[in-house]
Amino acid sequence: MQTTANTSRPGGSVWTDPKVRAWVFQIIAVIAIVALGWFLFDNTQTNLEKRGITSGFSFLNNSAGFGIAQHLIDYTESDSYGRVFLVGLLNTLLVSVIGIVLATLLGFLLGVARLSPNWLVRKLATVYIEIFRNIPPLLQILFWYFAVMLTLPGPRQSHAVLESFFLNSRGLYMPAPVPTDAFSVFLGAVVVAIIGSILFARWSRARFEATGKLFPISLGVIPLLIVLPALAVLIAGNPVSWSVPELTGFNFRGGWVLIPELMALTLALTIYTAAFIAENVRSGIQAVNHGQTEAARSLGLPGGKTLRLVIIPQAMRVIIPPLTSQYLNLAKNSSLAAGIGYPDMVSLFAGTVLNQTGQAIEVIAITMSVYLAISISISMLMNWYNKRIALIER
């Protein structure tokens, strides 16, 4: 295809002309696709009519009538299926975001440990990676849920830390901050401190570029970030009061709770994905030529700066593309929540709602487009970042 299509031969029959053939093939292909689409559409129409299912998205306004264990927005049983969709979407996004953050941290740590000069640390990281990336994520989720979370003691015997964190078979209960009247003052102080730090960093950089004098940014920023909010607390009082969970009857009340499904899912996805990220990080660091380190040292850069200014920027170029696909995998693997009943997009929408309404096509189409949208946005974000740090060549 690379080269044959552009040469037309005068004198041959029309059929031997590559251009004509290309056109014919494409027309046939398009006709075949359209025909297949029509065939499926026609069948679906007939089947739907026969089963008495009316297609369309009006079911989204109907009342759902079932409860959901975890909802980030207000939800009651009388809310609509459209609301259920939002709840599921937010729960999916919650798991994905927590998982991505934790897996990145653990993955980078393990990736660096894998290259450590310390034999024991290196071997431990290798063992971790080889064990966890070769076990299916769904199996890990089921393990954490059925073999760990559900076998924890009941609320009355829960493991307590500092009398404010409680771990039992119903989840992890922790104190929740409740904003008081002084909260807005505190927030204002923090915002002012952040803006001040940015301005200070800019000034320091401008001065460094103009005069070459180095003023350590941390020396100005850290006091600013500590002193201003502390002043706000001293003047206006405590910005938050803590709502500590308390055992009343058979369960805890107050505070925040992480439901066991969420914990099992996050743990499994983090542990699984971190193993892959660690390998990406290792290969990225190894891809940076050792000459770069030597060159940086011979320019007089100290160890930390060598790492920060020379090694990491170059390693990131290698790490980012596979890291993107790991993030995508994690977001897609969060759909395995259906295996343990965490109320995510798939188990709520493609599970419960589909069973209740029977609107298979609409429900699956909505679910798939959500994941397509998530995938596309993550890859666009990472592509933008990748382009920013990419090597600019002549």
């Binding site: 295809m1 690379q2 494409q26 398009v30 696709i33 450590s116 199996l139 089921l142 073999a147």
Partner: protein
């Protein structure tokens, strides 16, 4: 003339050789490293002894019921009692020899392909790929030549996992190669179709694909035409996996220098012969490790059929742990499942690394 005789070399300092030297170089080279070593050793001490205690020392190995598990460690009696179900699912026990025979035929049939001295490997491989699936289907499903029919609803356990993985890769590979060729095609319509197809399947999770194939496929098909559950899952797996194979193969196609295409065209080869005789043989060789890696992820993904109610290895174990006679065996069950999956996946990934080394003939530029 004065002759110089050298004194023998002094031995290296005792602290830099032997065990002590190794320890100093690898574990205690700086204060930070020493701290790390102590921390890591503490971690190992925290995890390993209780694990060994649980899995081996305190474990119960023989018995028949749950009551035989008395020592407080792992109760491997559970695995031992349910082993048949984990391997074969609900396949009738007197017919299980058919599954064993299918597996042995696969091993014996494929063995010559791994002998380097074998002649006409390609031809043999092709014949094997054509003949074996027919024989395997006949043996597993039965229905003709006097074999009793075993419907796919009774298949299960590790056997079902292997069937899904094997059929999945066998179906996805040819489709994936065609898609990769289509994506690299000069014809815009073909390219658009292939890119859309590939990106669509790569953007959605397998779980939604399985849901789709189990609830939407019956709607798509004309009246009277229907597939059983396993077939529907297989169609979903093949379509999904072919998109990933296509991307792997495309990488191989892109790695072939343009000169190869030009040389093939200059020889007067048409498109299919150029691809079949010149480009694909080189490209496929480059992507074999990638395909093995895709296969590993496919193998792990087979566990997702639990969602649509097929009884693969994982689901068999999950069901067995909810059996009232064996309540509280979830840990043993999942550890066993993890071990089986791990052995397969780790073995394949080692094989992939080995292939990468063996096939690295320096084509890259």
């Amino acid at each position: 003339m004065q002759t110089h005789t050298f004194k023998p070399d002094l031995p290296p300092p005792a602290l830099s050789v032997g065990v002590v030297g190794w320890l100093r170089a690898n574990l205690f080279s700086s204060w930070f490293n020493s701290l790390l070593t102590l921390f890591a050793a503490y971690l190992v001490w925290l995890i390993l002894p209780p694990l060994i205690q649980w899995a081996f020392i305190n474990a119960d190995w023989v018995g028949e019921t749950r009551a035989d598990c008395t020592s407080g460690g792992a109760c491997w009696v559970f695995i031992q009692q349910r082993f048949g179900q984990f391997m074969y699912g609900f396949y009738p026990s007197e017919l299980r020899w058919r599954v064993d025979l299918t597996l042995w035929l696969a091993i014996i049939g494929a063995a010559p392909l791994f002998i380097p001295q074998m002649v006409r490997k390609g031809l043999y491989g092709l014949a094997f790929l054509v003949v074996y699936p027919v024989v395997a289907y006949w043996l597993l499903h039965g229905g003709s030549f006097g074999l009793e029919v075993v419907p796919t609803s009774r298949w299960g356990g590790l056997m079902l996992t292997l069937v899904i993985a094997a059929v999945g890769i066998a179906g996805a590979l040819p489709l994936g190669v065609l898609l990769a060729l289509g994506r690299r095609s000069d014809m815009p319509a073909i390219r658009v179709i292939c890119v859309t197809f590939i990106e669509f399947w790569r953007g959605v999770p397998l779980i939604t694909v399985l849901f789709m194939s189990s609830v939407m496929l019956p709607l798509f098909l004309p009246e009277g035409m229907s597939f059983d559950k396993l077939m529907r899952a297989l169609i979903g797996v093949i379509l999904f996996q072919s998109a990933y194979i296509a991307e792997v193969v495309r990488g191989g196609l892109q790695a072939i220098p343009k000169g190869q295409y030009e040389a093939a065209a200059a020889m007067g080869l048409g498109y299919w012969r150029m691809m079949g005789l010149v480009i694909l043989p080189q490209a496929m060789k480059l992507v074999i490790p990638g395909i093995v890696n895709t296969f590993i992820s496919l193998f792990k993904d087979t566990s997702l059929v639990i969602i649509i109610g097929l009884f693969d290895l994982l689901n068999s174990i999950k069901q067995a742990t909810t059996d009232p006679a064996w309540l509280g065996m979830a840990t043993e069950g999942y550890v066993f499942a993890a071990l089986v999956f791990w052995i397969f996946c780790f073995g394949m990934s080692r094989y992939s690394v080995h292939l990468e080394r063996k096939l690295d003939t320096g084509h890259k530029r």
